[in-house]
Amino acid sequence: MATIRSAQPQTHALPLTVLIGASAGGVEALNRILPQLPADYPAAVVVVLHQPSEGPSLLVEVFSPRVRLLTKEADEKEPLVAGVIYFAPPGYHLLIETDGTLALSVDDPVLFCRPAIDVLFDSAAQALGSKAIGVVLTGANEDGAAGLARVQQAGGSAVVQDPADALVATMPEAALAAVPTAQILTATAIGQWLATLQPGGRHGAQ
């Protein structure tokens, strides 16, 4: 019997990771999702929210009193850890390396956005494969659509906020056009669903 050995990316040590992209209306949508996540959450959560790139992000201040997980602004080279919510710093792209550490860049904005959801999702698809869960929420542009398709192609799960439930439907609609088989849920239902994730267990209805 002939076998062709292929070098598979080693993803076993990496945590299950929920990647959330949001733009206009995003704080409110996140506020319906993140507080539902239980303490001892088995996944890492990485959030890109489009916001003005000036000044420090207020997301940690806004969300830390409302959630049961540790929240922080992402630092370069820190390892993804289950049970922590990382926010992309304003003005920087956030990427995930294949060794499960976070990376930042000031490369050109993508679709006028930095941080861009596509940049995070692309790198997560490469680094995490089936351990990635991509979630696209409300927003007024098309960032995240191409990245969500990559996440799904790499074996991860794709979830999109129901456009009818989104403050601005453009972004979820674009994501659904790119990934027609994505799960469609309201923000509240996304929170409920994410809250039930099991460590290492299969996730994501396709």
């Binding site: 995930i96 000031v106 490369d107 698809a125 990559r150 790499a154």
Partner: protein, 273 residues
């Protein structure tokens, strides 16, 4: 989608080829960003695979220069993070003033925005004449543009607002002449600036410095290469010299953590101990 397993192999080979042939060392750069940039270059340069790109750059130096524009994406702003420049003006300048003359090194200056910001600041503090400024980068095109001192006119709105937030004392438009969609900066600003090719990955100390500003370069380096750069900075700085980093960069987790103390921690300005 580009097949992931092959891509990692091809990238490694490409980076090795660049090093062996051109002595540009990207072997210790953050892989995720490198990958994005190379894939972007493939689309823009209309090459099907990374291996083909490798073939082209090995045999055509011009092709390597094309690729270098993608690998070292020139992205900068004048007075980027205004609070950093405000801290320099308010906290560092009073100490620079105590030196009869001083040397400043802007490492990874890209197309020059940061170095002109520094020159304007020093001019307003009446210190420009006392300063010798080195602005270095590895991208020859960026250095040429930096030396020319010409920037897109439509960036001036952002730069002006940054300048004001950074505590600018005059009217920003005094520093440039506008014409044909571009802004030409006052030549007197660069009288004491030397623009030079220097790599933090392969080159060594070249002068003794009082203040080194290296912003948004180290985020692209892995830890060993960051350590190398911090070592260079440490060896270049005079006793109690200053080092300023980008807003998401720190010396704290490096081998040189003990060799620098925070001076203005929020703005990532350190002093050699």
């Amino acid at each position: 989608m580009y097949p992931a397993a092959e891509l990692d192999i091809e990238l490694k080979l490409l980076v090795d080829a660049i090093y062996l042939k051109y002595n540009y060392d990207f072997r210790n750069y953050s892989p995720a960003s490198m990958k994005r940039r190379v894939l972007h270059a493939l689309t823009q340069l209309e090459v099907a695979t990374v291996s083909q790109l490798q073939d082209q750059i090995l045999h055509k130096p011009d092709r390597f220069l094309d690729l270098l524009q993608y690998l070292t994406i020139p992205v900068s702003e004048m007075f980027r993070d205004p609070s950093y420049f405000r801290a320099i003006r308010e906290q560092v300048v009073p100490i620079l003033r105590t030196w009869p003359s001083f040397k400043i090194w802007i490492a990874g200056c890209s197309t020059g925005e940061e170095v002109y910001s520094m020159a304007i600041l020093l001019k307003e503090e009446n210190l420009l004449e006392r300063a010798i400024i080195y602005a270095t980068d590895i991208n020859p095109h960026s250095l040429e543009r930096a030396e020319a001192g010409i920037f897109a006119l439509d960036s001036m709105k952002l730069f002006t607002s940054n300048y004001q937030k950074a505590g600018g004392k005059s009217s920003f438009s005094d520093y440039y002449t506008a014409g044909y969609g571009s802004a030409l900066f006052d030549k007197s600003l660069k009288r004491n600036i030397t623009f030079a090719d220097h790599s933090l990955a392969t080159d060594s100390v070249f002068s003794e410095m009082h203040f080194i500003s290296c912003r948004n370069v180290l985020i692209y380096f892995n830890r060993p290469l960051q350590n190398r750069a911090f070592g260079l900075f440490h060896n270049s700085l005079v006793h109690r010299g200053f080092m300023g980093l980008g807003s998401k960069e720190t010396v704290q987790f490096s081998d040189y953590a003990q060799n620098f103390e925070p001076f203005e921690a929020r703005e990532r300005i350190y002093r050699k101990v």
